[in-house]
């Protein structure tokens, strides 16, 4: 019995293998023809967010927001009557596994797009796979803005969208002396490079630039140094637990946010929940979205999120992007003839797509990054952010803004 089952399944595998073998030349020859597919009754899309491991804390919320958007779309009748079929993989916070699972989603499950990941490390691990398979990868996180792939749709802010208006505002309100503090990896360093170029333009000054290892949790020396240097602003790109520990030790050390506020590019409602409202109050974050943004779209988003995932669940500036990217995908597909869905046509249809996201109306640039609405908010003791500076207009994404002679365009990276 068992033996017969075994033979049957290996036989089936053999047939599949032959079929795969036959189609291999097509796969190898033309990338675009290989990824062309006629949509069936449903539309397979990949969801590649870690549900276990170190970054699960944040990625779980992105997974939840994306999945919610897909379920909303299906409940409203799908795309041209076709339902989205989310295929969920858990890459367990490990970059190599991200690449492996992305490949599986694209080859085995024939996903026409994959939504996923939070850290730059995981995006960069997936990058060769999406480029090789010529697929589209929808990445919702803010990042350092030094990448220009034709296969990644960037939904989060790049440095110019998080810093341009904020740095000038902080100098005006608090003073020109900045203490740059971040974790020791690429994102904080690139953001700080951009910050220093802005400071140089605005007669500001970086009194110190310091990086601590990921997960660093004892900030007593740094707090002493901050006390000695007396900067006007602590410009923070600390992430996760380091940010939580720093904020709590700042409070325990009795420093005063009205004298020396922390201006963070990375602190969202998720971190503040762990920091505690009291330790977060009086400090600032710069991001395109905060949970209590008052737009009808956001009220609907937050309400739906809370009723699905519990009353104390929070939305934040990455989960918002994870949510609206699914709608951007829908908007792009709606423009297409179901018989002509390829990576090229989805991308072409997506560029210029404008839709009302919870933060406001967002638009996909030809460089595949997104036009967003920068905001500065002051954290309140109830753990929510009060928006105190709302940009008057939408800001275009400028990847490579800190690098002269390099621009990301619709044709890829252009060097002059």
């Amino acid at each position: 019995m068992k033996r017969r089952d075994f033979l049957r399944s290996t036989g089936a595998l053999g047939v599949m293998g032959t079929a795969g073998g036959l189609s291999a030349p097509a796969l190898l020859l033309g990338t675009s023809s290989a990824s062309a597919q006629v949509l069936g009754d449903d539309i397979p899309v990949g969801l590649l967010f870690s549900l276990t491991g170190a970054v699960a804390v944040v990625e779980h919320t992105l997974h939840d927001a994306s999945l919610m958007a897909m379920e909303e779309i299906n409940a409203a009748g799908g795309i041209h009557g076709r339902m989205l079929r989310p295929i969920i993989e858990d890459p367990a916070s490990d970059p190599a596994t991200y690449a492996d699972r992305a490949r599986r989603l694209m080859i085995r499950d024939k996903c026409i797009s994959v939504f996923g990941s939070y850290t730059s490390a995981s995006r960069q691990a997936v990058l060769p796979v999406v480029e090789q398979r010529n697929n589209l990868y929808w990445y919702p996180t803010l990042y350092e803005g030094r990448e220009c792939s034709r296969n990644v749709m960037y939904g989060g802010a790049v440095p110019n969208q998080q810093q341009d208006n904020v740095i000038a505002w902080a100098i005006e309100n608090f003073g020109p002396r900045f203490y740059l503090l971040g974790n020791n990896y690429v994102y904080p360093k690139e953001e700080n490079n951009y910050c220093k170029s802005l400071l140089a333009e605005l007669d500001g000054e970086a009194v110190n630039e310091e990086y601590v290892p990921m997960g660093h949790s004892d900030f007593s020396s740094i707090i002493n140094r901050i006390r000695t240097e007396k900067p006007d602003v602590i410009f923070s790109t600390l992430v996760g637990d380091s940010d939580v520990a720093f904020a709590r030790q700042y409070l325990a050390a009795g420093l005063d946010p009205t004298q020396m506020p922390v201006l963070s590019l990375t602190r969202s409602e998720v971190e503040v929940k762990a920091i505690g409202g009291e330790a977060a109050a009086g400090h600032f974050s710069s991001a395109p979205y905060f949970m209590n943004t008052s737009t009808p779209e956001n009220e609907k988003f937050v309400e739906a999120y809370k009723s699905k995932y519990g009353g104390d669940a929070v939305t934040h500036f990455v989960s918002e992007a994870a949510y609206f990217q699914v709608y951007q995908f829908k908007a792009a597909l709606e423009k297409l003839d179901p018989g002509n869905v390829t990576t090229e046509t989805i991308r072409a249809a997506a560029v210029g797509t404008e839709l009302l996201a919870p933060q406001g109306s967002v638009l996909i640039d030809e460089n595949l990054h997104t036009h967003l609405w920068p905001k500065v908010a002051e954290w309140q003791s109830d753990g929510q952010a009060k928006v105190i500076l709302d940009s008057a207009e939408r800001v275009a994404p400028k990847p490579y803004a800190a690098y002269e002679g390099q621009t990301c365009t619709g044709a890829g990276l252009v060097e002059t």
């Binding site: 020396s221 000695t228 325990a252 009795g254």
Partner: protein
Amino acid sequence: MDVVFNQLFAGLSMASILLIIALGLAIIYGAMGVINLAHGEFVMLGAYTTWACQHYLGFGILLSLPFVFVVVGAIGWLIERTIVQRLYDRPLDTILATWGIGIMLQQLVRIVIGPESRFVSGPDFLRGNLEIGNVVMSNYRIFVIFFSIAVLLATWALLTKTEFGTKLRAVIQNRSISECYGIESKRIYSLTFAYGAGLAGIAGTLITPLFSTIPTMGTSLVVDAFLVVIIGGLGSIIGAAAAAVMIGELTAMFSLVINDTLGRIGVLACVIVLIRLRPRGLFPENTRG
């Protein structure tokens, strides 16, 4: 000059937290020869128990301390009775076993309580600073320093002034002869392991207002604690105290002169040199045999 004093205080504050964690580790190693890689997870369990006390019962941190000591101590006792006790004749296997226990505890917390960082509020009356001239010392950190000294003294008294301590030292000296005198070495071991775990739990409670309470929080702490135990001389309580102060202050001073990241490298380099010169640590226990 104020900068140096401020930094000396920061070093002492790091040392006090390290000391409480390392003390449990040192006792468990000194008494039983068990290298307990799950010690960091006991610290983590202490932090989560504190969170539970506050979240469900409304206890402040100080009120939680005895509960945490008992709860984490009981978990340690259970682990000793079920797993570690079977491995006393295979000291190297205890490394693997306790490492596995640590992973299981982490995953258990992640599954049962969830992966996100938990918030524990610090005691209100310890808010603010004590300022002497330009030297600013956080009240909470002063409290932690004194508390760790008290824990050190209590542990010393337990080992030297009580019947339990006498029995424990007898078992350490020679287990089979002590058993001939009617000392139940297994029971002594279980209690010692429980006490060490309880100390780690207390350390977990004390760091909750300063650190982020997550399932993996113990991993990095246990590395520093091992450093303290090795430099202090395996199993030596006085050595652990001296080494904790040394590492705390060294880290603070390097951090003052260079920065935290390079400072850390500097500290590790000093540790390597020190181990080369004094392979058995600062205060080796010469009585073991």
